[in-house]
């Protein structure tokens, strides 16, 4: 490998990071939606573009997405499946003029996540391969256990005021039953979308976009539209004033959750991070925000790292599958190139997200929240229409209605993730429910 080639590779990482950062600012747009178009471009220009450089550019895009999507999640309240958990604390931070602080905490966790991936994944190549071999035949019950935990671990949120036991049960179970209803409806939506979506065949690779945007983004935007709140002038503090223990605790928890999610099919960063926050007995918003940043990055980036890991080559996530269409990882050298790309993209993305947040923090309070939310809603609807046609809008509307249930009843929004978890789990367990819903 020549120095020129290496410099070209670094250049492609930087290009990918810059493109990814710009695209990730758009609320509702997932990097996986765009990568499909880049792959189409590559297949036509493949003769002149080196495959490794293309891989590094895509990795740059993914890493920057994992970092920069924090911005629309916090400032525009348009989360995806993995940032929905930070919505409550970050909206609170935003209302208190501390939106930038929330972004810095999440970005800090994300940067530590990148460091963890680039250092620890190569160190634990052997054990990871062994663990995967052992886990593989047992995945059906492990994902089943994740689902069971999600369902049995939600406790009532009724604050203990009730006239009699029956009234108490009714009040307490309201949130739990709303959660179960959300889970059930999301699962049915997922089974339909996975088995026979109504989206036109030429856009079928965008099949999950509409349900995910409906469940997480549009439902949050609608909630913001109906609730009255002001965005005050945001403070740009010199320090995030977090105790090192909170940073370490959050990072370790988040990285573990992210790795768990990257390792298992169907489990996404949100679920991984939320399970890790329970496993590590997390307390406090700061530690939680750090953990969510770490979890998200380790999930997205870790998945690609595991794909290139010489002892494993585990194909997780749309990017690994997309890359696998034109590239088969073979050597240790390629793995270290990818590791380098992840590290460079991580550092650039960290500064991108901080500067973007500073830029927005000093301006966002001037915009009327209603106008902001309506604009974001318009962008999201336009994106869904552009990517998935009117059929996608239909699916998005159904998903939005489902996504509003936990928001209105104060139950866990994580139940919406049944849209991915249940169909994949059924598939892994050899259970076919498609015929129940007229899908054959």
């Amino acid at each position: 490998m020549t120095i020129e080639y290496l410099l070209m590779c670094i250049l492609f990482v930087v290009i990918g990071t810059l493109i990814g950062s710009a695209l990730s600012m758009l609320p509702g747009l997932h990097v996986y939606n765009v990568i499909g178009f880049f792959l189409l471009f590559y297949f036509t220009a493949g003769l002149v573009l080196d495959s490794m450089q293309m891989v590094l550019m895509l990795i740059g895009m993914l890493v920057s997405y994992a970092f920069v999507f924090t911005i629309p999640s916090i400032y525009f309240s348009a989360p995806d499946d993995s940032t929905m958990f930070v919505l409550m604390p970050s909206l609170r931070y935003l209302k208190e003029g501390r939106g930038h602080e929330a972004v810095v905490l999440i970005a800090t966790g994300a940067l530590i996540g990148v460091i963890a991936i680039t250092i620890f994944v190569p160190l634990f190549m052997g054990p990871l391969a062994i663990v995967w071999s052992i886990v593989q035949p047992n995945i059906h019950w492990i994902i089943g256990a994740v689902i069971a935990y999600m369902l049995v671990s939600e406790f009532p949120k009724d604050f203990g005021r009730h006239k009699n036991p029956l009234h108490g049960l009714k009040e307490g179970w309201k949130t739990i039953l709303a959660g179960y209803l959300t889970f059930f409806l999301s699962a049915i939506l997922g089974i339909i979308v996975f088995n026979k979506t109504i989206i036109p065949a030429d856009r079928a690779f965008q099949g999950l976009m509409a349900p995910l945007i409906g469940l997480f983004a549009t439902s949050s935007i609608i909630l913001n539209l109906i609730s009255k709140y002001e965005i005050p002038e945001q403070n740009i503090p010199k320090s995030i004033d977090a105790h090192p223990r909170e940073i370490v605790h959050g990072s370790v928890a988040g990285a573990s959750g992210g790795l768990f999610a990257a390792f298992l099919p169907a489990v996404t960063a949100g679920v991984g991070g939320y399970m890790a926050s329970h496993a590590f007995a997390q307390k406090g918003d700061k530690s939680f925000l750090v953990s969510m940043g770490a979890s998200r990055v380790v999930y997205y980036v870790g998945a690609i790292s595991l794909f290139f890991l010489p002892t494993l080559h585990l194909r997780r996530g749309a990017l690994a599958m997309g890359i696998n269409l034109f590239f088969t990882p073979e050597s240790v050298q390629q793995f270290y190139m990818v590791d380098m790309g992840i590290a460079i993209a991580g550092v650039i993305s960290f500064f991108m997200v901080i500067y973007a947040s500073r830029f927005l923090a000093t301006r966002i309070y001037r915009i009327n929240p209603k106008v902001l939310n309506l604009t974001v809603l318009g962008i999201v609807i336009a994106l869904v229409y552009f990517m998935t046609s009117w059929q996608g809008l239909l699916i998005m509307s159904v998903a939005t209605a489902i996504g509003l249930i936990p928001v209105l009843f104060n139950s866990r929004r994580s139940h919406c993730l049944a849209v991915i978890l249940v169909p994949i789990w059924l598939n892994m367990s050899g259970i076919s429910l498609g015929s129940l819903f007229g899908l054959w």
């Binding site: 052992i134 019950w141 256990a145 590590f280 007995a281």
Partner: protein
């Protein structure tokens, strides 16, 4: 322990039951049902592992009756009401020789703002002291500096005459989510014993209930080898919850209806301690991986002691026991011991004070509730 630790402990227990059932039935019968026929029997361990808390927090807390409820709002704050109600309940328990329960509700201001207040039992001077604190922000519990009330409006005391046995930390803060309930029990010597959240860790955290749930295994799988395995998974998974909780201070009421009081825990740790939860989960994950490898037809790792002692796989029970011992000593214990030593060193260097027994007991009970702290 946190729900997740209980769930994982239940799953771990289930994997051990599967290993033993395999030994009993032979031909890797149960493991094949899981790996090849995709049976989900192990999940039962997790579900029944978390069930005691599910019963308490989803049902038992609503059955609990309170003799008094103190429910203030931001515009009607009265520390005297809190102090006098608690003092009255203590004396009532002594005079009427019955359990008296008091519920202290939190003061919610908005979706993430609460007014904090504290209660203190001064057993020497026989006084209950209530202090109204600041408005705090959500889970961070950050006080709003200008929200403190003047002392004339924020402090009150009330006297009681009974002898009070109070083994918890002096000050209890009532702040977010759901408030704590206090129970006052008359003791045989005429004194009154105070306790927190009386509905928790009683009948639902018992050996008895585990035995009663176990036959559900037959309801799911019939009287088959899988049915018997499910029987043991449910019972032992349920008991794993009680065992892990017992490493804390509060303990559980083991054999209701034959016993009525909680048996105190082993006092090894506090059930909500981060370290305790992390170590429990770490050990559980490693044991699950070991057991999955043990029942897999292909062994992805072999422990060196079995080769050193020349124990072959055909002698499965011996092979498994030696391998497990070797695995624990090589992989499970060293990271726990080393990291714990580092944590202790850091804590000493930073001058972190250990909690007293009373503080730890209060913390354990109230942290589980989430609505109060010490």
């Amino acid at each position: 322990m946190k729900g997740f630790a209980h769930f994982l402990a239940g799953l771990t227990t289930a994997t051990f039951v599967v290993v033993i059932a395999n030994m009993y039935y032979g031909n890797n019968l149960i493991a094949n049902a899981i790996v090849q026929n995709k049976a989900l029997i192990i999940i039962l361990g997790g579900i029944f592992g978390i069930l005691p808390d599910t019963i308490d927090f989803r049902f038992a807390r609503y059955i609990q009756r309170h003799d008094y409820e103190v429910d203030m709002d931001e515009w009607n704050i009265d520390p005297k009401l809190v102090a006098e109600t608690l003092a009255k309940a203590i004396d009532q328990a002594a005079s009427e020789k019955r359990e008296v329960n008091v519920m202290l509700h939190t003061i919610k201001i908005s979706s993430d703002q609460w007014r904090q207040y504290s209660v203190q039992f001064d057993t020497e001077n026989k006084k209950v002291i209530c202090d109204i604190g600041p408005v705090i922000s959500g889970f961070e519990k950050r006080p709003y500096i200008n929200s403190y009330l003047p002392e004339s409006k924020s402090h009150a005391e009330a006297s009681f005459s009974a002898d009070l046995k109070y083994d918890y930390d002096k000050v209890t803060y009532v702040d977010i989510l759901s408030g704590p309930d206090f129970s006052f029990f008359p003791e045989e010597d005429g004194s009154v014993r105070a306790d927190f959240i009386p509905w928790h860790r009683r009948w639902a955290h018992s050996i008895t209930l585990g035995v009663m749930f176990a036959p559900l295994g037959f309801a799911i799988y019939g009287f088959t080898p899988l049915g018997w395995t499910a029987f043991w998974i449910i019972m032992l998974g349920f008991w794993s919850h009680i065992l892990t909780d017992h490493f804390g201070l509060m303990g559980s009421n083991m054999f209701p209806p034959f016993t009525t009081k909680r048996v105190p825990g082993f006092k090894v740790t506090r059930s909500m301690s981060t370290l305790a939860n992390v170590y429990t989960n770490y050990i559980n994950v490693l044991l699950i991986i070991f057991n999955m490898n043990a029942w897999s037809p292909v062994k992805y790792f072999e422990m060196p002691w079995t080769q050193m002692l020349n124990i072959s796989y055909s002698n499965y029970a011996e092979w498994y026991t030696v391998s497990l011992l070797n695995y624990i000593i090589y992989y499970v214990l060293p990271p726990v011991l080393i990291s714990y030593a580092i944590v202790l060193w850091i804590r000493r260097k930073m001058g972190v004070k250990e909690m007293t027994d009373e503080q730890a007991r209060s913390a354990e009970q109230l942290e589980e509730l989430g609505g109060a702290s010490v």
